[in-house]
Structures are given as C-alpha cells and as structure tokens.
C-alpha cells in the first residue's frame, strides 16, 4: 500500500510527505505476502455450513448445560467434549453496541455527508446460554435509538449469495 499524505500527517516525526514522494529520504516498500488456509475443524466447519443454509447451530455441554455459540468440540470450563448439536433462533437481544464514526482503518466516516455510522453489536442469540452469541452489525435502525436488550433478528443474504461465512448474515435489525 502506498504511504499517503494523511499517514505522514499522523506521525509526530519531522518527516514531510514531500520528502518521501520526491525520494529525499530512503523509503522501503514491502508488501508482505501472508496467505493462510486455516483448517476449520468440525465445530467451525459445521457452523459455517449451517450459515450457508440460513441457520445458526450451537453445541451443548452436558455438564454445565450451556448451549454454546459459536459451537465448539469441547467445553473450555468443564474440560470435556461437548454433546448435542442444537439449532438456535436467528433472533436475539443486544448486549452492548457502539455508534462508530470511524472505520476499521481508523478513517473518519463522512457522517456530515450523510454516511450512517457503523453500529457493531454483541447479540445474545435466543436459545443459547446467557452471554453467548454473535458479534455482528445492526442496521435498519436509527443508531441513536438502539438500546440495551433490544430484540433483533438476522437479515440473511439471498441463498445464492451465501458462501458459508459470518457475512451470510447481512446484519441484524430490530423486531417487535
């Protein structure tokens, strides 16, 4: 990625963007190639496959009776293999959320120009144990009207567009 004027402006050094652009200082350009092909394993693998089907699947621990989402092959607290797979609803409640004026690269969103702030939220999914759920985005709601405990529902991508990813759910929106 090219260094931009903005990047340099953010530093506290005496370097000016022009110094780099005109080659007055040594600059090294290196694009690291970091490619991975992570093996999903049975838990994440089935979770993603079910998202493609438009369903959310969890797994239960027979000892502490937690219904865990995302599903996992072992209960990290009881230290034993988990038991049954269970489908849970695609609805839930907002645990916590934020109205964000910056994107993931810390770039400011043009809120004044009408861009909607990002509203990521932790959503406790109905049918799972307390505190379990999905980190996702909220939409179709005024960012300033989101409330703790608000009931929300998944808005899925059309079947043909789903690939088995967390983005198969477009976002969550409020329901009555």
């Amino acid at each position: 990625m090219e260094i931009t004027e903005k990047d340099v402006a953010h530093t506290t050094s005496k370097l000016r963007f022009d110094d780099i652009k005109k080659g007055k200082v040594l600059s090294v350009k290196w694009e690291p190639k970091l490619n991975y092909a992570w093996d999903n394993g049975p838990a994440l693998g089935r979770y993603l496959a079910e998202l493609k089907n438009g369903r959310i699947i969890a797994k239960k621990c027979d000892k502490c009776h937690r219904t865990m989402l995302p599903p996992r092959m072992f209960c990290e607290l009881c230290w034993r293999p988990t038991g049954r797979w269970v489908y849970v609803r695609d609805t839930g409640i907002v645990n916590t959320w934020v109205v964000s004026y910056v994107d993931w690269k810390a770039g400011r969103l043009n809120i004044e120009g009408g861009v909607r702030p990002f509203t990521p939220a932790i959503i406790e999914i109905d049918g799972t144990s307390k505190g379990m759920g999905i980190l996702h985005l909220l939409d179709e709601v005024d960012p300033w009207k989101i409330s703790r405990g608000m009931k929300v529902k998944a808005v899925w991508k059309p079947v043909k567009e789903r690939i088995g990813a967390i983005t198969d759910i477009k976002y969550f929106k409020p329901v009555k």
Binding site: L26, V28, W30, P32, K33, L34, N35, Y36, A37, W38, D39, N40, G41, P42, A43, L44, R72, M73, F74, E76, L77, W79
Partner: protein
Amino acid sequence: MTKRVAIVGIGTTGFRATTPDVSYRELTYEAATKAYVDAGIEPKDVDSFVSTAEDFFEGYSIADEYSPDQLGAVLKPIYTVPGDFIQSLASAYMMILSGIGDISVVQGLSKASNMLSLSEMTTFAMDPIYNRPLKESPHAVAGMEMARFMHESGATREQCAKVVVKNKRNALDNPLAGHGVLIDSDYVLNSEVISFPLTQMDISPHSDGAVVVVLAEEKTAKTLSDKPIWIRGIGWCSDTPGLETRNWGEAIYAQMAAEMSYKMAGIRHPRSEIDFAEINDEFSYKELQHLEAMRICRKKEAGPLTETGGTEITGEFPVNPSGGCLGVGNLYELNGGHKVLEVVRQLRGEAGKNQLKDITTGLAQGWRGVPTATGAVAILSN
C-alpha cells in the same frame, strides 16, 4: 537447596504433513487431554500455563490470546513465548522454582500446512533495510551457513546426506513421525539443488501437530508419576540478529545454551555424561554443526562420527533416534517440543522399536530456524 522439577505428563497428536480434519483448537485439545491423563491431573490442578506461538505462523496478530480455551487455561495464569518450545519450558520451570505453584504446563503447536506463503513469511523476518531489499530466499541463508560450516569443519555433503538417510530411516519405526522413508545418500546428493550446497532433501519438510507437557515440583511429581523425568539443566541463548556479523560456522547460540544447561546439571563431559540427544536438524548440516557446538563432538568430528554410524540408534552416541525434523517434520516453534517429547519417551522406556538401552540422561535442543540465531537446550534424566 534448589527445588527439583520433573516432567510428569506428555501428550501429543503425532506429526503429519497435513491435518485437514481439525483446527488448531482440536489439535491442542487432544494433546492437552492426553498430557493431563498421563499426569493424572485436571486443568484445575495446574497453577500456571505457558504457550508457544509466533503471530505470523498462526496468522493472527496477538495470537497468544487464542491459547487458553483448548488448554483448559481459561481464567488461569497464562502467557505466551514467541520462541522455541524449550524457551517456554524454561519459563514454566522457573514458575515452579519461583514458588508460583507446584504444577505448570507448556504447550506448542504447528499448523505449518496452513501457511501458504512460508518462504515470504521467513523473508519478512529479515532486516528491512540491510537485507530484504536484496530479496534473498531463506534457503539462501541456510545454504550460506552450510557452506561456511563445511569449510570450517571439513564436513562433506556426503556426511550431511548421511544425516538425512539416518533420520528418515529412524522415522520409519516411529509411529509419531510423518516423513519416514528409506533412501540412500545418492538420493539426497542428487536431489534438486535449492541453494548449493543445500539440496531439497537436506531440508526438513513441514509437519502439523501439538505437544503438551506437564511439569511438577519434586514432592508433587513423586505422587503423580512412577517415572518422573527430571529437568537437570536448561539454557537458552541468542546470537546477534545481524546476518553480516554473526558467526556463520559454529552455532555459538547452541554452544552457549548448552553450556548454560551443562553448568546447571553439573555436566563437564557431555559426550560421556549424556547418553543420547534429540537436536535440531531442520537442515541436514545443522545436526553436525549443533553436535560440535554443544561439545558432544570435538570440532571436525561430527561428520566422520556420522559417516561411521556413531550417531545411529545402535551407535555409540545416538542422535535423533526419533527421526528428527528431517523424519518427523519441521514443526517451527514446536520443534523443541518434539525433541523434549522424544527424550521423555526414551527415558521412560516408551520409544517402541527405537528404544535405546541403558540410558539415564538425554539432551533436547531447539533452534528457532532461519534467519534466527537463537537456541535452547534441556538436560533430562530419569
């Protein structure tokens, strides 16, 4: 008096070129479960944990945060060492010595098969101003070291090839090993040139796997295990990172780490006071270079000793009876963990067809691989 600490539990998945059926989570869970069963403990009995992970190998930044669950370490004292497993072992050992607790656990993992751009990642480890603009391959670094070592030690390509033949043969009888084959020296010498004198067969192929080890203070160790394996000495050392200024011939990092561990163990003559060694052989010449650096062989002796069969399972000083990195696979930050595991299996008498007879002390050595000059050594006794 210094406390004594023993290894009382080991667990592993074994090592294979690929592990497509499981994620890193299930891989570690399996090794951890086996280690805890072996030690007769549960995670709740553990006072502190140390995991081993390098961010770029895992593909996450701050990869250490992903360690606790599959180790049973949630809401427990845990931190990660971004180095070789034996450096983590040293940390866990010190936790017991310092009185933090009586039981500590060390974990290491390799999902090398998931790294699609290994060569680029290793190049990324080189200095961005001095070295990287020249776009050297990591194997060029190994090749240069091999050339310098051969010049200084008189070791030959044939002797290096013999290391490959021996270790891959040993791996055939090790059910944990993933890269055992029966070949002769000509096969190695005639394999594809990578960075001469380094050929394809001089380089360890990579493997996936996990190892978990349980340590305990003497009193606890004796109640938990019939066959505690004592940590008698441990050492670690880093040479300068500068490729321009480091010692290319002698692996000083291995020498210093070994001397540190010998001093702690009260060993003066490693060749006669140690019975066998599992050492880093990520590249064939490294086995010879490390043997001389750690004073197991005199200078210029490792090559001839290997040539005459002295380092075979039946030889006077067996080296890598497990098959080493060449026969088991390069496990990156887990390499030292595999060495420790195999030394423990030998000292317990659990090494199956590769079992050595009449042994009491073994040496495990790890190296962080190209382009590093960091190593660690553990001396273990039954």
